[in-house]
């Protein structure tokens, strides 16, 4: 049980007010974005036809980050689950799918599996939005090879957080439709979180150390921005979601990664948070 380093002066009223604002924005994102882009004289009925929701997932994930940072882990997981279902998983774009899979797996709300055929997502059993497993095959419709290579580390991380193999059993035949090319996979393998999840090795430990050092520096810079920090706001994501996900995935695999080293305060906090999330009951 811990708070993010540097948050000691945040009052509970400040944190609660900020979370409520973000939740209000998330819930009202469609309405608010439509209201504020409508033209003079447009009626509400016309505006309602617009379907795009801009910024809702970010409001949910920012609310989750602040809940985690203020030691309200269970509440944060609920917000992450909401962030995961902002987009329609059956037809959303690949970046949106990757975001949903990532937050949903971290929340224990979605079980993500990568296979030779594509991405399979199993929502929680009593989910009314998605009663059946969702399958999104690797195809040109899902995205180009470059787009898939960019999203693959996040998707693989989501699969690992779900407790599934992080290196997908994907064919290397490179024949295009229905498979991934070797170059696509190799491009994705270069990401540090991909390396971090490899079985215990010097390369994996170095990748985790690199991510942790970046996180230490990032939190220091956020705290030095006193205007935002004193208002419980961060210029960027308050939590390093990818590093958190790496630690949760390692714990679910029964490994502690680089936990034998003495971590900095930011890293120690994130490892504690990962431990808490790991112990929380999962829905799937």
């Amino acid at each position: 049980m811990s708070r993010i380093p540097g948050s000691e002066k945040w009052s509970s009223d400040l944190v609660r007010g900020r979370i409520e604002f973000l939740v209000d924005c998330a819930k009202g994102a469609r309405r608010l974005s439509q209201f504020m882009t409508r033209r003079r004289g447009e009626t509400e009925a016309v505006v309602e036809q617009a379907a795009e929701i801009s910024g809702a997932a970010e409001c949910w994930s920012d609310a989750a980050a602040l809940a985690f940072a203020s030691n309200h882990t269970a509440e944060g997981l609920l917000y992450l689950a909401r962030a995961a279902v902002v987009s329609d998983l059956r037809r959303c774009s690949l970046p949106e799918l990757a975001r949903s899979a990532f937050f949903g797996s971290l929340a224990g709300y979605l079980n993500v599996r990568l296979s030779a055929d594509g991405i399979r997502i199993l929502p929680r059993s009593e989910n009314r939005l998605y009663p059946d497993e969702i399958s999104r095959p690797w195809s040109a419709e899902l995205g180009t090879a470059i787009q898939i290579a960019r999203s693959l580390p996040v998707l693989a991380l989501a699969a690992a957080v779900s407790g599934n193999p992080f290196e997908p059993e994907i064919s290397f035949d490179g024949k295009g439709e229905g498979s991934l090319s070797r170059s696509t996979l190799l491009a994705a393998f270069a990401a540090p979180d991909f390396r971090a999840l490899r079985q215990a090795s010097d390369s994996a430990r170095a990748a985790i150390r690199e991510m942790e050092e970046t996180w230490e520096l990032r939190l220091t810079m956020m705290r030095e921005d006193t205007y935002h920090w004193e208002r419980a706001r961060a210029r960027t994501e308050l939590i390093d979601w990818r590093l958190l996900a790496v630690h949760v995935a390692l714990l679910r695999r029964g490994s502690s990664g680089s936990a034998d080293e003495s971590p900095g305060p930011a890293t120690a906090y994130l490892r504690d948070l990962a431990g808490e999330i790991h112990k929380m009951p999962r829905w799937v």
Partner: protein, 198 residues
């Protein structure tokens, strides 16, 4: 030059009420400098206001607002931004920033103005008719700290004919009313798509 839609959030308080908010549809959105120093001599005021515009003044407005809050000649507007995120990129819509400022983070009710400005594709801190795209890091690298707010900095006064409407929201983001500006000039009327001579 580019034409850019922007939002401006102002919170409600005893000195800024519904009447003041709708009054800006006739007067324009003033900078702090204009509110503090403007007198009765319009020519002298405009000239003096322009003298306050500089790269250093813009830098203070963005990076050291607390020091110049009472007399800055710049007006912060939000046009939204896209920032790097764990899963790729993250959208910070203009409406969220404007609502954050208007409601002081969900604490009070406030007003949001929709207006357009003329953006320069190069730094133009000293030219009052043009707004500076502070959110554009390719141009304004020194403003990275506040990149996520998607700021566009207008100068001295956002003319009232460039304000389309004002909307009021309560602290929870519930819509209360909208007042349209009858004098509004649509930016499409001056964009660079020219109709044939018919």
């Amino acid at each position: 030059m580019l034409l850019q839609w922007c939002l401006k959030g102002i919170s409600e308080h005893s000195h800024f009420t519904d009447a003041h908010a709708t009054g800006l549809l006739r007067k324009g959105i003033p900078s702090r400098w204009l509110l503090s120093y403007a007198g009765s001599n319009a020519f002298a005021d405009v000239s003096a206001a322009q003298q306050t515009l500089s790269q250093a003044a813009l830098d203070n407005h963005v990076n050291n607002y607390g020091a110049v809050a009472g007399n800055t000649p710049y007006i912060s507007l939000s046009a939204g931004s896209v920032v790097p995120a764990s899963h790729g990129v993250s959208v910070r819509p203009a409406w969220r920033t404007a609502l954050d400022f208007a409601t002081q983070g969900g604490a009070v009710s406030g007003y949001i103005f929709r207006c357009w400005v003329i953006l320069s594709p190069k730094p133009s801190a000293g030219l009052s008719p043009l707004a500076d795209e502070v959110r554009e890091l390719n141009i304004f690298r020194q403003f990275f700290t506040f990149h996520d707010e998607g700021e566009v900095a207008a100068k001295i006064l956002v003319p009232h004919r460039q304000i389309e409407w004002v909307q009021k929201f309560d602290a929870r983001g519930n819509f209360i009313f909208q007042a349209d500006n009858p004098d509004f000039v649509d930016p499409l009327d001056i964009c660079n798509l020219i109709e044939v001579v018919a």
